[in-house]
Amino acid sequence: MKVLSLNFLTCAVKACKSSSSSYPLHPQDAELVQDEIELNPDMLINVLPRLDWAALRTTSSELGFPPLPEQAPTQEELQADEKLVRDLHHLLLETQISEGKLVCANCGHSYAVKEGIANFLLPSHLV
């Protein structure tokens, strides 16, 4: 699963939805793989307003990437910053979590990631 996906995923437990600590999920024992994907600057610039930047900074540092700017760039700023476009492309689209866990800091439940697929099915006591 791509790092981009992680920015749109949260805990599947209903009781966690209202808690800010349930998002973002925290990768643990994550094995990363890098794919080479052709850069499409427009797709990246257009997705910027949909990103939760604070969550992306957390995820990026937890995965061991160099720190992102504290504030999200505007679309105009990103357009003018080739290096940041390349860095974000690499982080969001080329970096995949192939194995590991995603952990909710609110309920502590951990979701397995296997062969790049996270499994969000809940045990019956959490449904």
Partner: protein, 220 residues
């Protein structure tokens, strides 16, 4: 028709069936339906969307300028979506979705809610889809129609709406195997009623190929 809980009933008559028939089912599901393709191609480049109940992921590559995430209850189908279509997919239940609220531009949910065995659960599912999109984002839902007298199944207005539909799996060198899938067949107008009950607004609706469909939103 049910003696067990809806969850247990669906586990037997929906979830385990799809996992058992996944490769065969997938081999019969390749051609995207035109209306769904045009909904996807009308989205702005770089838009973010969900395909809830993505099955083998046949809609994921329709518009390569979108960021589209698929989810399905069947891990066997999700694996196919990933290996055969390089889809960005997770295993999840439509009633316990793991997506951040108000985060995406659009959602499609094709041939999913008719597998939920109570009206309350079908409406809860639509409500969950409406929560995923940001204000004004569009949700496209398809469900099987009761009125399909021209199809080989021949149901019409007078037929029973809650029904088991056989899936016959033919594989070489093995006897045919029949699985019973649960369906709720939607009558005319019912999908729109469910959207309204879920707090949504119907923007467009219609009938295509034995299905009722609706495009709805969380605001007018």
């Amino acid at each position: 028709m049910q003696s067990s809980s809806p969850e247990a009933y669906e586990a037997t008559h929906v979830h385990s069936v799809y996992n058992a028939i996944a490769p065969h089912f997938s081999s019969t599901r390749h051609k995207p339906w035109p209306l769904i393709s045009s909904f996807l191609t009308s989205q702005a480049p770089g838009a973010v969307g969900l395909d809830v109940g993505c099955g083998n992921g046949k809609y994921l590559p329709v518009n390569p300028s979108l960021h589209i995430f698929g989810s399905d209850r069947s891990d066997a189908l999700v694996r196919l979506a990933r290996t055969e279509r390089n889809g960005e997919v997770v295993v999840a239940d439509a009633l316990s979705l793991p997506f951040r609220e108000r985060s995406v531009d659009f959602v499609i949910c094709i041939a999913v809610i008719h597998h939920l065995s109570t009206r309350e659960r079908r409406q809860e599912c639509i409500q969950a889809l409406l929560k995923c999109v940001h204000k004004g984002g569009r949700v496209l839902v398809y469900a099987w129609a009761l009125e399909q007298s021209s199809s080989r199944r021949g149901w019409d207005e007078g037929s029973e709406q809650d029904t088991l539909v056989p899936w016959v799996m033919r594989s070489k060198g093995k006897p045919d195997e029949t699985f019973q899938r649960y369906y709720h067949l939607y009558r005319q107008g019912e999908l729109e009623e469910d959207v309204v009950a879920a707090g949504g607004v119907v923007l467009e609706s219609g009938y295509e190929k034995d299905n009722w469909w609706v495009i709805c939103s969380n605001e007018a």
